[in-house]
């Protein structure tokens, strides 16, 4: 199967239209970043607390919100998370002005008290407490009667293992609806199960994750993220300029790259997607991907420039884009397939990551054709025009020997290259 059989599209004919379209997208992006609601920073950058909980029953968001408001933690937010059928919510609390308050504990205590299911609060909450608390209680109660001797097993190890299995069971079923759910735990004695059933509570929620980022860390990360993106862009400029021994190529690739980053960030801001560490990781990947695409076209341009016949740069570039078109579309398509799979199936955390890459790949593919190469043409045109203007002023008394030298040099440099090419064939 072939999608593109020796196409001959005059891509550069539309370059000014393309540049207009790019500017439009960038302006829309800027509107998203600076005018509209702005970038929605996640707690990685903004600081604050974020807690993901899974409830046994469908949570009443309004009720939870009232409980949160009563904690006096300032600005709080609560929203459904992931698949609604999973009964999961995400709670955000703003950065606290005063240090020393354990926000996670405060939120959990408030919710547990507000949703009290009538259990004794001094008991272990099977859904929140970990294996250490549980094994401590089991060891104290000793339902398997190991303390009196007669068994060569260490009671502490024995109950630690039992607790570990019960917690593993919780992970497996998602949440214990009541202490009776421990019945299904494998390899735990009936006495332990009975003790757990009689002496523990199954609280209303399981903590999926709890994150708390202080203001310094957020500010540091913002700075680090900006530096990382800026330095990797600079790294690309240097690499391309060295590899292609040409500044316009380096500039073209970097302008395309900045173009891709700006548009992607702008669209993320417009969509009010959360901007966090993982998104920065996606952006940095995009930096590599965008240049990768551009390099393939540039490699072709360089190869085509080595042919003996002198063609205008635009023709060479057009031919190179056409020759690599099939590869560009195919590779972007293949990468797009995996990224779409991630977008749909990868879960909440990878969702924005995948979206960033989806936007980035589309924009990056477009820019490797319509931004990176036209810039080389425009740059060269511009330089030549300036040189053409300067020539009559400079060459007033032409020294007889000198003009021959620069002309001879490129010719001799060209000759061995041609030979090489013939050899390869």
């Amino acid at each position: 199967m072939e999608l593109f059989r020796q196409t001959n599209i005059d891509f550069l004919r539309w370059k000014w239209w393309a540049i207009g379209a790019s500017w439009l997208l960038i302006v829309i992006g800027f509107f998203g970043i600076f005018v509209q609601k702005g970038l929605k920073f996640g707690i990685d950058f903004a600081g604050g607390t974020q807690i993901a909980l899974r409830f046994a029953e469908k949570p009443d968001i309004e009720h939870l919100r009232k409980l949160l408001d009563a904690t006096n933690l300032g600005d709080t937010g609560i929203q459904r998370y992931e698949d609604p059928a999973k009964n999961e919510v995400l709670i955000r609390v703003q950065q606290q002005k005063k240090e020393g308050r354990d926000v996670t504990q405060d939120v959990m205590t408030a919710l547990r008290q507000g949703l009290a299911t009538g259990g004794d609060p001094s008991r272990v909450d099977l859904n929140v407490q970990g294996r250490d608390a549980l094994s401590g209680r089991l060891l104290a109660a000793d339902p398997d009667h190991l303390a009196g001797g007669g068994s060569n097993e260490n009671p502490a190890d024995h109950y630690a293992r039992a607790a570990e299995r019960i917690v593993a069971r919780r992970t497996q079923v998602g949440i214990f609806r009541s202490p009776a759910d421990v019945e299904g735990t494998p390899d735990v004695s009936q006495a332990v199960k009975d003790w757990v059933k009689a002496n523990t509570n199954a609280g209303p929620f399981v903590v999926l994750s709890a994150e708390n980022v202080g203001p310094q860390v957020g500010a540091d990360l913002q700075k680090k993220a900006l530096w990382a993106v800026a330095l990797s862009t600079l790294g690309m400029l240097v690499y391309i300029a060295l590899r292609f021994r040409s500044l316009p190529f380096g500039v073209g690739a970097v302008v395309a790259l900045i173009h891709d980053t700006l548009i992607t960030v702008g669209l993320l801001a417009l969509m009010q997607r959360e901007f966090n560490l993982v998104v920065v990781a996606a952006l940095l990947t995009l930096v590599g991907y965008s240049v990768n695409d551009t390099v393939v076209v540039y490699d072709r341009i360089r190869e085509n420039q080595r042919t003996p016949k002198k063609e205008p740069l635009e023709t060479v570039i057009n031919r190179s884009i056409n020759q690599t078109l099939s590869r560009t579309v195919l590779t972007s398509g293949a990468t797009m397939l995996v990224v779409i799979a991630l977008f749909i199936l990868g879960g909440e955390v990878l969702n924005t990551f995948a979206l960033t890459l989806i936007i980035g790949i589309i924009v990056g593919t477009y820019s490797s054709i319509y931004v990176a190469s036209p810039i080389v043409v425009i740059w060269k045109d511009f330089v030549e025009k300036r040189r053409a203007k300067r020539v009559p002023v400079k060459v007033v008394p032409p020294p007889p020997a000198e003009p021959a030298l620069p002309k001879a040099a490129p010719a001799s440099a060209e000759a061995p290259r041609q030979k090489k090419k013939k050899n390869r064939r």
Partner: protein, 536 residues
């Protein structure tokens, strides 16, 4: 099969089998640590545990703490003050009041009668780390920069050591405790699902100070009334630990410089100490600490001594006699609290206070969900790519599929062998590598097609295709590796995992897409002297 091709096939087999064996062996190694049953862990568990999982997949706690290095400087300053006082006593020159102006500076009033030559000599001998200048009868001391840096440095490395001791006592498998930047410490405790307990254990600075009491306990206003609301420069106002049922906050005014601190502790253990058998903690001092303690208690019999733990006065017993090498911390502790306090005092008090900058807890069920989602997405993504490649390139497409599968196997093996950590973004990196590794195949295949279109014989076309695509493949890989290096530099935990996966995957893809794929072509078409068509 030509000799050259035979060697290549052999090399590929060795690499693949070696990596697979390496993966399984590493898997067994990891599985054995977690396996609680008898005998060897089953192969299934070994296959699962070859690659180390990051906290976000495995569940656990990630903490970033900041060491309040000012605390360590204060201790340094208090030592200097103490030294100077001792010298004054021994060499019999008189010193006026001390002013503790900052964490690393202090001043002392020197009257006109004082023998400044002796003072100067004492300073030269015992306060070499301090610079001073004399401002109208007042000597102002400032800790020199190298000494200050050394003290801060020490505080951070001691804090790391202390946290490591405590975590070891708590019993966490494979904890990571590392320095980050100048004064930050990263603590990662995989598999820990009791965040509150661990956090308390680490955060408990157990910064013990024993200071002489000037006045108290009383409420703030009453204590500060004689000095019209100002805390005198040589004193500190410290809150007392609230007792149950207590109506208002109580404070003590204590001397700024400590008699002894946690650094002078040799051992600590819980004990029944109160009149009614309440729990307390008995501590024992080092030889140096005992000396200081003995002289201070001897000189201040009848006064109160405040036992201050983490800036709260636990108790302020009256000094009845000269005490040398042990003391008791009383307070209304439960047995558990007394136990934990003794543990942290024993494991070493932190040389300085800690502040939590960042804490992230991932529960085990979230990690399990993430892995499930990630694996599903990877399999579906890979299958889609395989189908696309086979439909587009027919027989040569299968060639690419084999290269991609090998890529995935080698990547998993390399990660296991290098001991690198797989994180959730790392899974994304894994599957992204598959999308990008296909790029090399596409570049080669498109070149071969072009050569065929140009009328070249199939064999030459294949050779030329590989040769011409090679430079481009290297270029495209280098660009991504450059961006991944910056990613690694920038990233914390999960993002670093992503960068590592990406780089290893890309390096492997050069091998699979160029070397392996070329060899497969040679195997297919190399036998015949002449071929008419290539299925591509």
């Amino acid at each position: 099969m030509s000799k050259k091709v035979r060697w290549r096939v052999l090399l590929i087999l060795v690499v693949v089998l070696g990596t697979v064996a390496g993966y399984v062996l590493t898997g067994y190694q990891h599985a054995r640590k977690e396996w609680i049953g008898a005998g060897n862990p089953p192969l299934k568990l070994a296959m699962k545990s070859g690659i180390k999982l990051g906290l976000d997949l495995r569940g656990g706690i990630h903490l970033v703490l900041q060491v309040n290095t000012a605390d360590a400087l204060k201790a340094e300053r208090d030592d200097a003050v103490e030294n100077l006082r001792n010298q004054a006593r021994e060499k019999s020159f008189t010193l006026g009041d001390f002013e503790l102006s900052g964490p690393s500076s202090f001043a002392v009033n020197v009257s006109a009668q004082t023998d400044t030559a002796r003072l100067e000599e004492a300073v030269k001998r015992f306060l070499g780390d301090w610079s001073y200048n004399v401002v109208g009868g007042k000597w102002v001391f400032q800790l020199k920069d190298p000494a200050r840096r050394a003290a801060e440095e020490n505080a951070v490395s001691q804090a790391i050591e202390t946290i490591r001791n405590r975590v070891d006592e708590f019993g966490v498998a494979e904890p990571l405790i590392a320095r980050e930047g100048v004064d930050r410490i990263l603590v990662q405790l995989p598999g820990v699902d009791d965040p509150k307990r661990v956090k308390d254990l680490i955060k408990n600075t157990a910064f013990l100070e024993l200071k002489l009491v000037e006045s108290g306990p009383s409420d703030r206003a009453a204590l500060l009334a004689p000095t019209s609301g100002q805390v005198p420069p040589t004193l500190d106002l410290v809150e007392a630990k609230a007792e149950p049922g207590q109506r208002q906050d109580l404070y003590y005014l204590v001397r700024k410089s400590a008699v002894i601190t946690g650094r002078d502790l040799k051992n600590a253990r819980p004990s029944r100490t109160g009149q009614f058998g309440q729990m307390g903690v008995t501590f024992f001092l080092t030889a140096g600490g005992a000396e200081k303690f003995a002289s201070a208690t001897g000189a201040n019999v009848g006064k109160q001594l405040a036992i201050i733990l983490d800036n709260r006065v636990q108790s302020a017993p009256r000094i009845n006699e000269r005490i040398s090498d042990q003391g008791v911390i009383q307070g209304s502790f439960t047995a558990e609290e007394a136990n934990d306090l003794a543990l942290v005092l024993r494991a070493g008090a932190l040389p300085a206070g800690l502040t939590y900058l960042e804490e992230r807890t991932v529960g085990p069920s979230l990690g399990a969900d993430s892995i499930r989602n990630g694996i599903t997405a990877s399999i579906v993504g890979a299958l889609l790519v395989f189908i696309a490649v086979v439909v587009y390139y027919r027989r040569a497409g299968w060639n690419a599929v084999i290269a991609l599968i090998l890529n995935a196997i080698l990547l998993a093996g390399a990660m296991a062998l290098l001991g690198s950590t797989l994180t959730l973004p790392g899974i994304a990196g894994f599957i992204l590598t598959i999308g990008m590794a296909v790029d090399s195949n596409v570049l080669i295949f498109e070149r071969i097609r072009e050569e065929l279109r140009g009328g070249r014989a199939p064999k030459t076309a294949i050779e030329n295709g590989f040769a011409k695509a090679f430079a481009t493949i290297i270029d495209t890989h280098i660009t991504i590796v450059i961006s991944a290096i910056f990613l690694f530099q920038f990233g914390t935990g999960p993002v670093k995992g992503f960068a590592v996966t990406l780089v290893i995957g890309l390096l492997i893809s050069v091998f699979t897409a160029v070397f392996v794929s070329h060899t497969i072509f040679d195997l297919e078409y190399g036998r015949r002297a002449h071929i008419d068509t290539v299925s591509i």
